[in-house]
């Protein structure tokens, strides 16, 4: 039963992963990627990791919805009404993918993998919780701070305006008197030219 389920889910994961780069619509591509992630999450549940599996499914469902929104915002042909092939260095990419797959598979088949299964009836989610808030708390918290830095970076990168005007026009503060010199320290003029942030 588990084997049949695993076979079905892994086939689904690989097939929908392949369809991501074969469908005509980018929105459909993001939904195919979501199907692939959900299949992998269910495989994780089969592999006795229910927390990771369910968390993957929830996270990816939200992430792919965001991705579909971005597809509609930015991309041409979101509805897939026209055939879409936007690839470069196609042969090289196919070769690289095949080499990666066969190399990794060969490594898996040729190496002597250790066998020590999760014990029957082990309380894996409870163990994970104790690990996260116990010995590995620093790692967990570091991931949290990294996510905070990511949020700040994403806002800075995508913001329309900086503190003193458009974000891509530099950040000189306004003058202290009307039409006066900008307040604060001026950027170094000799080095400043190269990094000139004049708007286009």
């Amino acid at each position: 039963m588990t084997d049949a389920l695993f076979l079905a889910l892994s086939t689904l994961a690989i097939w929908s992963g392949w369809r991501v780069f074969r469908v005509d619509s980018m929105v459909r591509a993001s939904f195919q990627l979501m199907v692939s992630f959900i299949a992998v999450g269910l495989i994780a549940v089969l592999l006795a990791a229910p927390y990771i599996g369910i968390a993957t499914i929830f996270m990816m469902a939200v992430e792919m919805m965001v991705m579909a929104l971005f597809m509609v915002m930015f991309m041409m042909n979101p509805a897939g009404l026209n055939p879409m092939v936007m690839v470069h260095q196609h042969r090289f990419s196919i070769a690289a993918g095949v080499v990666a797959f066969s190399g990794l598979s060969a490594a898996v088949l040729l190496s002597d993998l250790p066998v020590q299964r999760v014990p029957e009836g082990a309380d894996v989610v409870r163990d994970l919780g104790h690990e996260l808030l116990g010995p590995s708390m620093l790692i967990f918290e570091t991931a949290g701070v990294t996510l905070l830095a990511t949020m700040i970076g994403a806002v800075v990168l995508s913001a329309h305006s900086g503190r003193y005007g458009a974000s891509d026009a530099g950040s000189l503060p306004p003058g202290l008197t009307p039409g006066g010199e900008p307040a604060g320290r001026k950027p170094d003029e000799s080095a400043g030219h190269h990094h000139h942030h004049g708007g286009h």
């Binding site: 695993f6 892994s10 994961a13 690989i14 992963g17 991501v20 780069f21 980018m26 591509a29 992630f37 992998v40 495989i43 592999l47 006795a48 990791a49 990771i52 993957t56 992430e63 965001v66 991705m67 971005f70 991309m75 936007m86 690839v87 470069h88 260095q89 990419s93 196919i94 690289a96 993918g97 095949v98 990666a100 797959f101 990794l104 598979s105 898996v108 088949l109 993998l113 250790p114 066998v115 020590q116 299964r117 999760v118 894996v124 163990d127 690990e131 996260l132 790692i139 967990f140 991931a143 990294t146 996510l147 990511t150 949020m151 970076g153 994403a154 990168l157 995508s158 891509d168 286009h200």
Partner: protein
Amino acid sequence: MTLVTVLIVAAALIGIGLYGALSQQSFVMLMMGLELMLNGAILAVIGFWSFSLGGAPEGQLLAIIVMAVMAVEMAVGFALVVAVYRKRQADMTESLTSMRH
């Protein structure tokens, strides 16, 4: 379902993701290739944890870290796409020939 089959499925996902990341011209499709590779990485980590780590919780922790990497990649990637699009009206890798603006 053995460790070998799980790892081969993961290898297939990584191979497809590598193909996508190298071949796609659109930034967002390129990021989907990266996501697919991380998907395979999560599957491999969970497979190893389940079959050969004897239930040590650090294996699951590593999977959570991979998920955090995925979130960071998505957020910063989309922010860069927005920044580049605003500056150059570009959504294809070919339209970027220099890093200066």
